[in-house]
Point group: D3
Chain length 189, copies 6
Amino acid sequence: MYAISLGEDGAELRPLEPWQAEEFLAHMDRGRDFIGRHNGLPDVVRDLASSRAYLQGYAEKAAADTGRIHGIWSDGTLVGAVILRTMDVPQRTAEAGCWLEPSAVGKGLVTRAARLLIDWAVEERGIHRVEWWVSAANAPSIAVARRLGMTKEGVLRESYLYRGERHDMEIWSVLAPQWRAGTPAPNAS
Amino acid sequence: MYAISLGEDGAELRPLEPWQAEEFLAHMDRGRDFIGRHNGLPDVVRDLASSRAYLQGYAEKAAADTGRIHGIWSDGTLVGAVILRTMDVPQRTAEAGCWLEPSAVGKGLVTRAARLLIDWAVEERGIHRVEWWVSAANAPSIAVARRLGMTKEGVLRESYLYRGERHDMEIWSVLAPQWRAGTPAPNAS
Amino acid sequence: MYAISLGEDGAELRPLEPWQAEEFLAHMDRGRDFIGRHNGLPDVVRDLASSRAYLQGYAEKAAADTGRIHGIWSDGTLVGAVILRTMDVPQRTAEAGCWLEPSAVGKGLVTRAARLLIDWAVEERGIHRVEWWVSAANAPSIAVARRLGMTKEGVLRESYLYRGERHDMEIWSVLAPQWRAGTPAPNAS
Amino acid sequence: MYAISLGEDGAELRPLEPWQAEEFLAHMDRGRDFIGRHNGLPDVVRDLASSRAYLQGYAEKAAADTGRIHGIWSDGTLVGAVILRTMDVPQRTAEAGCWLEPSAVGKGLVTRAARLLIDWAVEERGIHRVEWWVSAANAPSIAVARRLGMTKEGVLRESYLYRGERHDMEIWSVLAPQWRAGTPAPNAS
Amino acid sequence: MYAISLGEDGAELRPLEPWQAEEFLAHMDRGRDFIGRHNGLPDVVRDLASSRAYLQGYAEKAAADTGRIHGIWSDGTLVGAVILRTMDVPQRTAEAGCWLEPSAVGKGLVTRAARLLIDWAVEERGIHRVEWWVSAANAPSIAVARRLGMTKEGVLRESYLYRGERHDMEIWSVLAPQWRAGTPAPNAS
Amino acid sequence: MYAISLGEDGAELRPLEPWQAEEFLAHMDRGRDFIGRHNGLPDVVRDLASSRAYLQGYAEKAAADTGRIHGIWSDGTLVGAVILRTMDVPQRTAEAGCWLEPSAVGKGLVTRAARLLIDWAVEERGIHRVEWWVSAANAPSIAVARRLGMTKEGVLRESYLYRGERHDMEIWSVLAPQWRAGTPAPNAS
């Protein structure tokens, strides 16, 4: 029912709910190899039941006000999502994330979608600090963090075990005053 | 984040979630006497805790895909809502409902909002039959059912105990083919 | 332990509990085709686990005071049941129902059993309105509603999806004063 | 609805359910001092909420097939109960118990009621061993165990802490073959 | 992390937690036939999932303060356990138990381990009465009860159904004053 | 029952369980102001009920293998604790923490206790990475991280809202190979 245009190319941000599990699985199947390079999601969403369980988890986060998921549709096809993986309203912190299937990469969809979501978190919900946790090897996602004006705060060494190897995780963030100022943080050039 | 215009007067339909419990309570307080003439809701939403519990119930229905609530905002104020009180996707049936606080009455907001919701139910979710249960004494709500092209199917005698008195309940409905045809049902003149 | 005679033919009404799941399944197997013409129950009670789950559901309704099931035994064989599918004591409403396997049809067992159950609901529990929801095609069950002095209040068009087809559902009811007067409602001739 | 006569004096055994919490509390209030001499029940059933909770617990035991409660009515007044405090159908064991308010004592009501319950347990449910746990100081309850043909199997020293003092508990039992033979156990004279 | 020496032979008592399910299963596999002569545990712990479930149950008892399990290690191998199968702190009662795999029998390990556990229950937790339920045919376990200074209080006839046969269960116990005095009870010679 | 000496001064590490809620509350009351300078715990543990709830939470973490708490006793008084606030065994990561009441500060108790806990995590449970999250203003806790050979990996700006002010949080960690080598990390001088 709801949709927000992501620009002139017809892409849209929309709610993504458990009843769309089949559509979500098809998206994950198309993006499985690409998304799975740095992101464990494809190992979680493997079939219709696990697809529904994943979206169900986010529906429950929405009900508890502790997370959100929104899908990105391009030409009527679900091609990615932006999420608040966690949201702690009393602490006024949240962690954002995103992914795209390969066909949708390179158009700036994720950056625009993440802006909408962070705007909502900061302006409507009073979130003060939005984090972005990303594998140090995931250059495209790091580039998004930079474009969102985030600052790199540290590297958690060998903290993420994925497909048998340990990866460094970078933590980036933007604080509400920075976000509103719209000025990139110092090292986010 | 999301909003759908309800017409030229700037009114909008938007998601209504548990974190908006305070705003929802203020709306209920403004409409308490008026809404409470035929509708038990004001007896359920009495304070912040019960307001949150009510919206929480709908967030859980959304997570379970068994109901939905959307708020109607006019000039930035929450003035009413449309709901799918129940939705049974396997059976392809749903029951819709609505209310407004007095200041928003008479502009057709509820009819327009209900159209959006029923369109979503019928076209996006495959619902075949949308019901409208209404107290036989609630003339304005019956008028909405008529404007939505619904047919009166029966009267459940003394079926609703409200504030110590028993009321007859009318059941109206519209079936998907009628809805799509947009032709009012015979007796809905 | 408990039993109430249903007349001179030795038939009895008795509690029906989860531990009787095997006996209940055998009854359902004997009546599967016949009962299943208008009633979805045989699709629900398919094996021992689902038979136990069904009776378990009613045991939980009894514990919550929101429903009841009683079995009808004839010559020591479980041949049918009468139920309060729902019971809302604060609202003082209930919905009754019944079924028989073919060998027990035509003796008036269900009407007598339903009278006992409705008497209990009205006289001991203060229920004001007892409903009977029935497929418009289920002539025998409609005949029971008539014999119980119920009034037809409406027809819910295409409201019940069963084995791939949509059926009209009739709602019949009797109110406590009518029940006590024992006079058939006007159109229940 | 159901009732079983307990003899010529009009006393009856009937189901006892959560909706009867008020009646149960009134009974407990009348018998509080008398029953409370050897039995912790009056400390558990103190007001309407705890009365409902107690009966609710037994409704859940019935649903789980792990216990039962039945009330004893005399001249239309609830005067006592017999229970299967526990019932382990796979192990084929159960523990029975009972109590009366003072006005109903001395008529053999409990013995007759307990016979019905043990008969049901042994004959309908296949219980092999029915226990009776009783404070060594509770002479009337021990007399019932004797009248039921039970055998004393041991004394658990200082095992029951009640109102600040520790009491010895006796365990009596009857096995199914004894029960069926109807012959009192050796020391049950 | 924690360990208490059980004597000069290097045996130790240690916490036994769900993450040790594999080690626990290996122990049970080694002792399956021997332990299973009088004890249903080997029928409960059959594979890794049931081993984890069993230890999980005890972790939950520890969290609820209603039971405890501790493992006995000899030369680095888990060879047995002592348990408080139940612990009722408000009533100040508990039931202890134990088992060993065959290789560890005859060294007094269980008696020493049970002493530590009963000491903890009596001295640190205020338990007044510690029971020992044992099959009348389980001579080694009865010998442990004797060595612990327990008194035989009774025999529950045919109370334990195990592998298709009914067994008499003996109840032994020691009360806190006896335990502290360290004097064996009369018939515990 | 269990205890591990923390050195020549008689201090000990022991399990800390829900039944010790009273003792834990007394400790928290003595250390409330001191511990509360940088740590939200005193705001969580305010009375007996919240003290029990906090320890209950850790008992449930132990049951789920996702965290641990151990108390530090000095001269028989509970003076502090070391915790694994989180433990993710499949990911092989954990977060450690600690606190002391003022009387116990300056003796190295926490460092010794943390060593035992990290040793257990690394050597017995296979944890690869142990984190230490600490307010940038909490010099004593940062000193412990240094003494444990941890490396500072980043600063999460204004990430912790505590008593109305936002604080920077530092993340320190030690990896298993470093831990085993026992060589302080480069910047941990």
